[in-house]
Amino acid sequence: MTLLEFARGPALQWSITIFIVGVLWRLLGIVLLRTKKDLSEPRNPAAWKGLRLIALRSWPRREFLGGTAFGEVMGYAFHIGFLLTLFFYAPHVLFFADVSRGLIGTDLQGLTGFAWPMLPNGIVTLLAAISIAALVAVLVHRIVNPVKRLISNFDDYFSWFVTVTPLVTGLAAFAHFAGWPYERLLAYHLLSVELLLVWFPFGKLMHAFTIFAARGATGLIFERRGASL
């Protein structure tokens, strides 16, 4: 079995399995927790309005802009670049279509009649490069800033590592880095993605699943208590 066969076979299957098990474990573990009944009189009966916090927290508050602008800009640059690369790069689209066909017997086009659009490779390359640059910038900021350095732990650095590695290996595979065989570069890329999948549920990357629910829950509590959002 070659490295590529291992990467696209057993390693992929195990990492997907661990990812699914881990994500469901953590999500259900949180969702099914018992919440204390709030016996106080609600300040605002229309507590559902607190869900606005999901959107409000996605944008910097004017009064804190000076201190948060760097993180906000880098955060958006990374996330937009990463997500567009992940979901709109042609080989990735083919991979997801294959997973879909395996699971439900058809892909998005078969299901809805709409084709999943793909971005031109040049744009995807630029987006991936921007993502990497943003990740490097936030890492440097984390190391240089004494407060951030103090509150950072292994989880922060390892999560950064497993996030940046697929981008770097993906770019390397696309560019046929240093004349290395494509199948070796592709195997490295797949293995780096698999490392990301395995680590995902157990580290801070899990925020991808919890962040909006957490903001919503906080917003509901704040609104009920009459706090300003």
């Binding site: 076979g9 997907i16 399995t17 699914i20 098990v21 573990g29 099914l32 083919l94 699971l103």
Partner: protein, 349 residues
Amino acid sequence: MFSISVGEFLRSRGVTRRDFLRFCTATTVALGLPATLTPRVAAALEQARRPSVIWLPFQECTGCTESITRAHGATLESLIFEAISLDYQHTLQAAAGDAAERAREQAMKDNWGRYLLIVDGSIPTGNPGYSTIAGHDNLSMLREAADGAAAIIALGSCAAFGGIPGAQPNPTGAVSVADLIRDKPIVNVSGCPPIPVVITAVLTQYVTFGTLPELDALGRPKAFYGQTIHDRCYRRPFYERGQFADSFDDEGARLGWCLYKLGCRGPTTYNACATVKWNNGTSFPIEAGHGCIGCAEPGFWDNGGFYRALSTGNWGSARTVGTAIGVGAALGIASAALARKRQRDAEGA
């Protein structure tokens, strides 16, 4: 066996000086040598004695022989190929049976330690009776011929890597030449079949300089296997722009877009098809509208379906995913139940 020079032989076959020099230039460049070496190649080739070559076809389909001897008709490549002293090749030679075997034994004896051994086809290591020539099994015939060879050329993917006979479940226990012979220089000229000019270029270098070409990690001449089909494919710009054919008869296919989505193995296949091409430089499979099947790579027959895009993985079955969902849900419910119990205990205390 080393009776006349290559130059004399070619002149006797009516090859002009101009054609000969053109061939020398093309071969020099194809081998990755500086073009300034062309006069040296021409001079050396003209004076070179015809080396003895013994060609052993084992578990093969004769496709390699067809490729080398028939593909281009009477070109300079084929004449150069004839310019070696091919002393044994049981498909091509007129003699058969004991007479052919005596010719092989005599050629080996006369040129012991100096002859080139070409092998096409894989070698069965199971029952010796799976493949025999004049009563001799392939394995012992290879070992005997390899003993006296100066070098071995494993022609085609079967001889180089086991090929189709070595594909799962490999009923004959087929292996490559390199799996069996360790003490001789071996050049793997892989492909199913290999490109004719590659074998003639390797022979030309050997005849001219007495050396074998620089090889890659899989023992293949770097000059021909140094880049992927994808790297040199004329459809590469469409790949860069994300323009892919979705089926073999859609608009994309008609416009000549990239065949990556249709399973093309170009990005993982190292060969010179996209530059040297086939049928006297007419075209190559991708140009004819079909993706590369990666025939020059080890285990190409077992590397997944030919029509599955390279990016797709063997990610598992719906059952595996279902089991993972079940296990994850059970763990989540169990951990939440434990947390609830701890909460109640804390409140009780």
